[in-house]
């Protein structure tokens, strides 16, 4: 096929992006929105292996195909960023309320998801392409860190989303709670028993909240007890959970004797953090090396 022999250019990339968005529309009509709930373990691990395998094959064969050579180049980056950008701008201009149809739920909209997948593949390939150059020049360090960090962040954020548990626990002062409720209303046994000793709320003279805090005693499965004060920006880590101060009885205000805690368990978070710190290091190195066209190409 000549399509895959000749070198692809910018215009081919925009055609490819248009076709991808169209394909997304067709899948959306045929199969409905993306169901991220299906991507929980072990499906996400299978998808991750598949993605890495595709990248490896594309990287190894980059010299043999005009299409694959293009996929890891700036001529693919420009249309991939443009298409992703376009759909993200649509997201920024439409209120994200799922009842309002496709555009009200962009994260489950196939064209949006497919564009991000395309962007992820391009970013991953660029990282691979630039890695062998590390031996030749240190000026390519920021590019490798930024592309690899962005790739890791995108992949782990998307594939890890279904494995994340995000629950709300409502406790009254002096009582003990073990259950917490998910977004969809189902109750889970958290394996923790949490006793709320005291809920404190302070306000500014204007009535605006200044500080709210829950004095708790938490016992985990092993029977180990932890006493702590949880407040906004000061979460507690216990028994594999992170506990955040989330809310209170807003009608009672400062007199509230109820505290709402948010319990989060996100097994992919360390990998997302690794990606974020790689990007931060890359942005820092970029300040030092600057942007040199010969290097980044």
């Amino acid at each position: 096929m000549t399509l895959f022999k000749k070198p692809w250019k910018l215009a081919d990339g925009f055609l490819f992006g248009g076709a991808l968005i169209l394909a997304g529309f067709i899948v959306q009509i045929a199969a409905g929105p993306v169901d991220w709930g299906l991507v929980s373990s072990p499906v996400n691990l299978i998808l991750l292996s598949a993605l890495l395998a595709v990248l490896a094959v594309a990287f190894v064969n980059r010299g043999k195909s005009g299409f694959l050579a293009w996929l890891g180049s700036s001529s693919a980056a420009v249309p991939a960023i443009s298409c992703t950008l376009l759909l993200t701008i649509v997201m920024g201009l439409t209120a994200q309320i799922p009842e309002r149809g496709w555009l009200g739920s962009m994260t489950t909209f196939w064209p949006f998801v497919l564009c991000y997948v395309w962007l992820t593949v391009v970013v991953g390939l660029v990282a691979l392409n630039h890695m062998p150059l590390l031996g030749k020049t240190w000026r390519v360090v920021p590019s490798v860190l930024l592309h690899l960090g962005f790739f890791v962040t995108l992949v782990c954020a998307a594939l890890g989303s279904a494995d994340k548990k995000d629950l709300e626990m409502t406790i009254h002062e002096g009582e003990t709670e073990t259950l917490a409720v998910a977004d969809d209303g189902t109750s889970y046994d958290t394996g923790l028993s949490v006793r709320l000793n005291d809920f404190t709320m302070e306000t500014y003279p204007s009535g605006m909240p200044k500080r709210f805090a829950s004095d708790v005693l938490v016992r985990d499965k092993s029977g180990k007890e932890t006493a702590a004060v949880i407040e906004v920006n000061k979460p507690l880590e216990v028994g594999g959970w992170k506990m955040y101060q989330y809310g209170y009885d807003e009608e009672a205000g400062t007199e509230s004797t109820v505290s709402v805690l948010e319990l989060v368990k996100d097994p992919w978070l360390p990998f997302v953090y690794a990606g974020i710190f790689m990007m931060l290091a890359g942005a820092f190195c970029l300040l030092v090396t600057g942007f040199k066209r010969e290097v980044w190409k």
């Binding site: 420009v78 701008i89 920024g92 439409t94 209120a95 994200q96 309320i97 500080r211 970029l286 942007f291």
Partner: protein
């Protein structure tokens, strides 16, 4: 220290910046840099005094962020002048800083001591300060884009393009810091590093348009005009992200960042 005396500090700073700008035009470089520097010191003295009297960093309200923006625009202008010697740049950054000073004088918003719990975090100051520095650098890049599109049509020099690329690279690095600091902070405050809140969505959009600029420069180095139009688009997105979303109906429905 309060906003009542802002006009005096601002006036003194602007007078020094104007003197510096005039000296830049007539080629007195050292004097220009000294006067510009004094103006910056006067302006920063006001920010510091506000910080002390408010008992918190002045970064919460729109008016307070504009204060830093004016400051960093002038800083960015001075860096570009020192490094690349464009004699018109101090004038331009003075005018831009002045616009935001005037907005602050005409529309002084409530600048109280209150800081809601979510904002009481060590991430607060670095998050906003790196963002404002980035906005300052990218504001200077926008000035370069306008200059190239209007005054340099057809005979853009390599130095013009190099300056613009460098401003965008520096601005984008700081934009990356600001966005990721925000993600790390959100994780500590809410247990979610990214929630597609409209402010986050527009921050991602702004970040991506500047990425688009740099990658377009790699893919099509000779198409300078399109590159400059991407910068104009980027600047519009940046303004929507910064304050425009307060007026977007889509954001009003759902954002925790509208203030």
């Amino acid at each position: 220290m309060s906003w009542d005396v802002f006009i005096w500090f601002a006036a003194a700073a602007v007078i020094f910046w104007v003197i510096g700008s005039v000296q830049a035009w007539i080629g007195k470089r050292s004097y220009a840099i000294i006067n510009y520097g004094i103006g910056l010191a006067v302006f920063f003295a006001f920010i510091l005094a506000m910080w002390i009297s408010l008992e918190r960093p002045p970064l919460r309200t729109m008016g307070e962020t504009r204060l830093w923006y004016s400051f960093f625009l002038a800083v960015a202008g001075m860096i570009v002048y020192c490094r690349w010697k464009y004699k018109w740049i101090p004038t331009f950054s003075t005018v831009m800083a002045l616009v935001f000073i005037i907005v602050n004088l005409l529309k002084p918003e409530i600048h109280s001591k209150t800081l809601m719990p979510a904002l009481q975090s060590p991430w607060f100051a670095p998050h906003v300060i790196v963002y404002m520095f980035s906005y300052g650098m990218l504001g200077a890049a926008t000035i370069m884009a306008i200059y190239i599109l209007i005054f340099r049509k057809g005979n853009t020099s390599d130095q013009d393009m190099e300056t613009t690329d460098n401003l965008v690279t520096t601005g984008l690095s700081f934009l990356t810091f600001g966005m990721l600091f925000g993600a790390l902070w959100a994780q500590v405050a809410w247990g979610t590093y990214w929630a597609w809140d409209p402010k986050e969505t527009w921050a991602a959009i702004t970040w991506m348009v500047y990425l688009l600029y740099l990658h377009f420069r790699l893919a099509r180095p000779d198409d300078k005009e399109t590159a400059m139009w991407i910068l104009i688009l980027a600047f519009i997105c940046l303004q929507i992200c910064w304050w425009g979303i307060n007026y977007l109906p889509s954001a009003h429905a759902t954002s925790v960042h509208v203030y």
